[in-house]
């Protein structure tokens, strides 16, 4: 187990270094960043001064080394637009994005798992058919469009909910719903198909034969095994959630990282874009590390041999 954890940690560090390198070199992909930072009519002397001031006159690998050294001590550079350290900006917006992401994930899980179980247990029934039809529509809807439709219905027509901003629960409902819907649909479909598979297995039949109440058979024996693929998908789809916040936060004017990064792109504030990407990628990698380690708790069969157990 310990060896497995260490190997996963080493892998995580490797991935983070690679990601930081990729995001760093992206910014230099377009040529000279200084040209993009200054107004078009800047004089040669100004350009040269800025270049020296920001360290762009150094070789690329020196710049990257500096960037990494800075990142390790919590300094991801200055925002070109706001003129404050980008990390401060990111940390200020992070709670709003996490709130939205967690709410969306919670909403998706709370609805989808019972829905998928019900559909599997009542396979072939009207409940199953309607549930899966709804799920098909759910995965086929762009989340930002769903967000606009919710605004049209609940804010414009009914006047029940505020269209934008962050505040109480009434602000959170629509963005979380819009962001979580396609995950909900996907989880429901997955839960159903995994449950169908599990319900046919011998140990479920044994549990039933022992005369255990159906609720125990499904809730304890079947569900526990159905959770494993679900947890994997949550880890992978967390990236989707983080990316989805970029669009959803714009729709609902939610003051999170997504809106920050969109504005940063239009302001050509590259250090800020880079910082947001790095922080979000870091969260994503961390979530997947946790998911990998969770397997051990969920599935006693996985004993973390030193083979290749890829998720």
């Amino acid at each position: 187990m310990l060896r497995y954890v260490l190997r996963r940690l080493r892998h995580t560090v490797f991935v983070l270094v690679a990601i930081s390198a990729i995001s760093f070199f992206f910014i230099h992909l377009s040529g000279d960043p200084v040209m993009l930072m200054l107004p078009a009519d800047a004089s040669d002397a100004e350009i040269e001064a800025t270049r020296r001031q920001l360290g762009f006159d150094q070789p690329l690998w020196v710049q990257y080394g500096r960037f990494v050294a800075g990142a390790l001590s919590g300094d991801l550079g200055q925002s070109l637009y706001y003129h404050v350290p980008v990390l401060d900006l990111v940390l200020e917006r992070l709670p709003a994005s996490l709130e939205l992401t967690v709410a969306a994930l919670a909403f998706a899980l709370v609805v989808s798992v019972p829905m998928g179980i019900l559909a599997a247990v009542k396979r072939g029934s009207m409940v199953d058919f309607l549930g899966m039809l709804a799920a098909l529509f759910g995965v086929s809807m762009p989340h930002f469009w769903l967000g606009i439709m919710l605004i049209l219905l609940f804010s414009v027509t009914l006047g029940w909910l505020p269209t934008s901003g962050r505040g109480g629960i009434e602000h959170l409902v629509m963005p979380a719903l819009a962001l979580g819907m396609s995950l909900l649909a996907m989880f429901a479909r997955l839960t159903r198909s995994v449950m169908l598979e599990v319900l046919n297995l011998d140990y479920v039949r044994t549990a039933r034969a022992k005369g255990l109440p159906e609720i125990v058979v499904i809730g304890k024996h079947a569900l526990r095994n159905a959770l494993i693929p679900l947890v994997t998908i949550i880890g992978l789809e967390f990236g989707f959630l983080l990316g989805g916040t970029v669009v959803i936060e714009t729709v609902f004017a939610w003051p999170g990282l997504g809106r920050l990064v969109v504005q940063a792109i239009f302001n050509r504030d590259y250090p800020l874009v880079q910082a947001v990407v790095l922080v979000l990628a870091g969260i994503f990698v961390a979530v997947n590390l946790v998911v990998d380690l969770l397997y051990g708790l969920l599935d006693p069969q996985i004993r973390y041999r030193d083979g290749k157990e890829t998720a």
Binding site: H11, V15, A18, I19, I22, S23, F26, I27, L29, S30, L136, F137, V139, S140, M141, P142, H143, F144, W145, I148, M149, I151, L152, V156, S193, L196, E197, N200, G239, F240, L242, G243, G244, V246, V247, T250, V251, V261, V262, A264, I265, F266, Y270, V273, Q274, V276, V277, L280, A281, F284, V285, N288, T310
Partner: protein, 308 residues
């Protein structure tokens, strides 16, 4: 993703007809047993044909402005007319023409991106799986990094630097999506490599190139086909999202996402501007998903029994 680890649908190819053609014919026969997939395929075909031929059916300029006719509702609502069946936008442009144009843009971008991703992923996965060794390690390491980099953030950060153009979008969307194909392909190849008919081919001195072409590719292609369908849906959604954010094809190209973004300012007066393009996207994605579900059922024997 280990969609097709060991049990692949097709056995060793027999003689006659090219293996690829035969695989496709078998697929067609299998699909006939899935009515919902056929329905999805039919709707998708209709959408593709419309996107290809709409200038013949509705030859209206999607960019022609007419301020006198601005914000006209669809024909069936009071104040609307058949000159603009789906109404007009804030500049008096015809919404139907804009949505039709948007379908072409979306399908071309998503189709090309899927092609880029599928070809790149298939080739890399094939080489990694067939040759193994350092090449395999390098490809799979690269795949790990791409997997850890949230797809949408990758596209956003590249677009931020490269700027928006259709070519950039295709490249970025395609290159950020190759991993899933490569992993699937590698898994297929690893199991096929050990199959008797491949061993036999090698024993009689068949060249690597011929083994790959005749024995490996035809048998490993069906999971790739399923993947391509599923990913096409995701890429269309993401392309419309990027367009919505203003990072899609540059203006004035009408795209589904841009119509939605522009219509959002008029949400209180013009429901059709924010509703209809979304329905177009949803219909397209729905048909692709129906087709994809059917393809997966038809091609993956493991789920064939459990689903439906």
């Amino acid at each position: 993703m280990t969609a097709a680890d060991d049990d692949l649908p097709l056995a060793a190819p027999r003689r006659a007809a090219p293996p690829l053609l035969r695989a496709l014919t078998a697929l067609g026969a299998e699909l006939r047993r899935h009515p919902s997939a056929l329905a999805g395929g039919a709707i998708l075909l209709a959408i593709v044909l419309t996107a290809a031929c709409f200038p013949l059916l509705w030859p209206v300029d999607p960019l022609a402005q007419s301020l006198l006719e601005r914000l006209q509702p669809p024909a069936w609502q009071e104040g609307g007319g058949w000159a603009h069946p789906l109404g007009t936008d804030n500049l008096g442009r015809d919404v139907l023409a804009r949505i039709l144009h948007g379908s072409r843009v979306s399908l071309v971008i998503a189709g090309s991106a899927v092609l880029v991703a599928a070809v790149a992923g298939t080739v890399l996965g094939l080489l990694a799986g067939y040759h193994g060794g350092r090449l395999e390690t390098a490809v799979m390491r690269m795949a790990d990094i791409f997997l850890a980099y949230p797809f949408m953030l990758l596209t956003i950060s590249v677009i931020a630097v490269l700027g928006t153009s259709i070519a950039n979008l295709v490249l970025v969307l395609g290159l950020s999506d190759w991993v899933i194909y490569a992993r699937t392909m590698r898994a297929s190849v690893l199991s096929l490599r050990e199959k008797e008919f491949v061993q036999a081919a090698r024993a009689i001195g068949t060249t690597d190139g011929r083994i790959i072409r005749r024995h490996i590719l035809p048998n490993a292609l069906s999971p790739i086909l399923v993947l391509a369908t599923v990913r096409m849906a995701s890429i269309i959604i993401w392309e419309s999202g990027l367009s919505f954010l203003g990072m899609g094809p540059p203006p004035p190209t009408p795209t589904w996402g841009r119509i939605l973004a522009e219509g959002r300012s008029y949400i209180t007066d013009a429901w059709w501007l924010v509703t209809l393009p979304g329905i177009a996207i949803m219909l397209t994605i729905l048909s692709i998903n129906l087709l994809g579900d059917g393809l997966r059922d038809a091609l993956d024997p493991r789920v064939r029994n459990s689903i439906r």
